[in-house]
Subunit: 229 residues, 2 copies
DNA sequence: GGATCTATGACAGTTGCGTGACAAATCCGC
DNA sequence: GCGGATTTGTCACGCAACTGTCATAGATCC
């Protein structure tokens, strides 16, 4: 598994990044200060380091120089400051990329992948690209991998079921009306809403341990369906 | 001297970039279309390529794919569009970095330098390229060596089969649609998807111990194919 | 208890996929 | 060049799986 170290003092941002990265299939570790981050990286090196510029104590630039001194790990700066001077200074200090907050997680992972292609001929060879997984209790959905697992076991779902499930998973916790699902999964602007029922039913047979009393894929009478943890 | 090729259709912007790069000590060459840029790069390869996304004729994404196909030159996208989708698409197509216009020349050169640190052999001369071997159970694929082995024994695969297998291996665990495979293996933008089926079938005959129930090269009905461990 | 909404089983039409056959294109040793 | 072997792309067929519709039964609300 590909590991990412996130050095960021703002708890909320750090947590958000960690969760998002884990959803994308990375193993993510956090550190609130440069000192802590360097210690973590020395003890248990990650494959990538994300670092904020404004940190208490040792700042981001210094942190990058230290990382560079004893390691060749790719470093991406994640900063709120969109300023040429900072960008140039960070890159000169040894960073490989610079992203301005707020971060689009898709962009971040795309940049990590681009970096991986360019990563120096490592001793370990190229790490395989992680496959993002969305988890709902014992249920795992990997939109990119095209598969669904329950308690680790693959569940055979059809294409429509899969699309339906992904759509629900993408909006986890929110209700989606039958109309919305028809629109997004089938591309129908109008149509028989019973169609959705039927497919939801079939899906429940496969992913719920007791289809009669669904725990994840629940009905909101009069509103639609939602997927929850 | 370090040479940079700038592919940009807007004369003013291209000229400004060329002049600025020359001021910074680069040797800069311009091209107004993707086609011209590709021709120039083939005849007289630059060390870096800057490319705009919106180009007449062949667009930036296609241009990047072509560059990637026959070269390993670092590519930086310079675009007016600051949109996550574009950024992700460009990086996926093979770009190494993405800068939003208007460009600060200092940032651009800093990013080029950062890229040079990471650049593979080519700029600095031929480095001993490690031959990465991708393993899938008893299956071994060495993309550089052009070899496939099953349980240590070499398997004779044809060129197309090999490229297909590499493409799948590179995105191990992810579904690739027939369209994507046609695009990436054959370079077709459209075509008969059954072609993929046939080659997958032939490949299975060779690499699967029981081709009837594939364990690695699996079909995801309605989605495509994927290679797994 | 009636009205409304939802679940589910059955069924026929459709689609998707694997396969073998075949011709064109390409490779290769001579 | 040349002829045979290999590789490649196209096609048609048949099976298996999937999809959408409908009717009916059940659940929930008021």
């Amino acid at each position: 598994m590909t590991a990412v170290l996130v050095i960021e003092d703002d708890d909320r941002i750090r947590l958000a990044l960690l969760l998002a990265l884990e959803d994308e299939g990375y193993e993510a570790v956090g550190a609130a200060t440069a000192e802590e981050g360097l210690r973590v990286q020395r003890r248990d090196p990650a494959d990538y380091v994300l670092v904020d510029l404004m940190l208490p104590g040792l700042d981001g630039f210094e942190c990058i120089r230290h990382l560079r001194r004893d390691d060749d790990v790719p470093v991406v700066v994640v900063s709120a400051r969109d300023d040429t001077h900072d960008i140039v200074a960070a890159l000169e200090a040894g960073a490989d990329d610079y992203i301005v907050k707020p971060v689009a997680i898709k962009e971040l992972t795309a940049r990590l992948r681009a970096l991986r292609r360019r990563a120096r001929a490592g001793v370990t060879g190229p790490a395989p690209e992680p496959v993002p997984v969305l988890a709902f209790g014992e249920l795992e959905i990997s939109p990119d991998g095209g598969e669904v697992r329950r308690a680790g076991k693959p569940v055979p779902v059809t294409r429509t079921e899969f699309r339906l499930l992904c759509e629900l998973a993408e909006h986890a916790g929110r209700v989606l009306s039958r109309q919305q699902l028809l629109q997004r999964v089938w591309g129908y602007d109008s149509g028989d809403e019973r169609l959705v029922d039927v497919h939801v039913g079939r899906l429940r047979q496969k992913i719920e341990s007791d289809p009669a009393t669904p725990r994840h894929l629940v009905t909101l009478r009069g509103l639609g369906y939602k997927l929850q943890r």
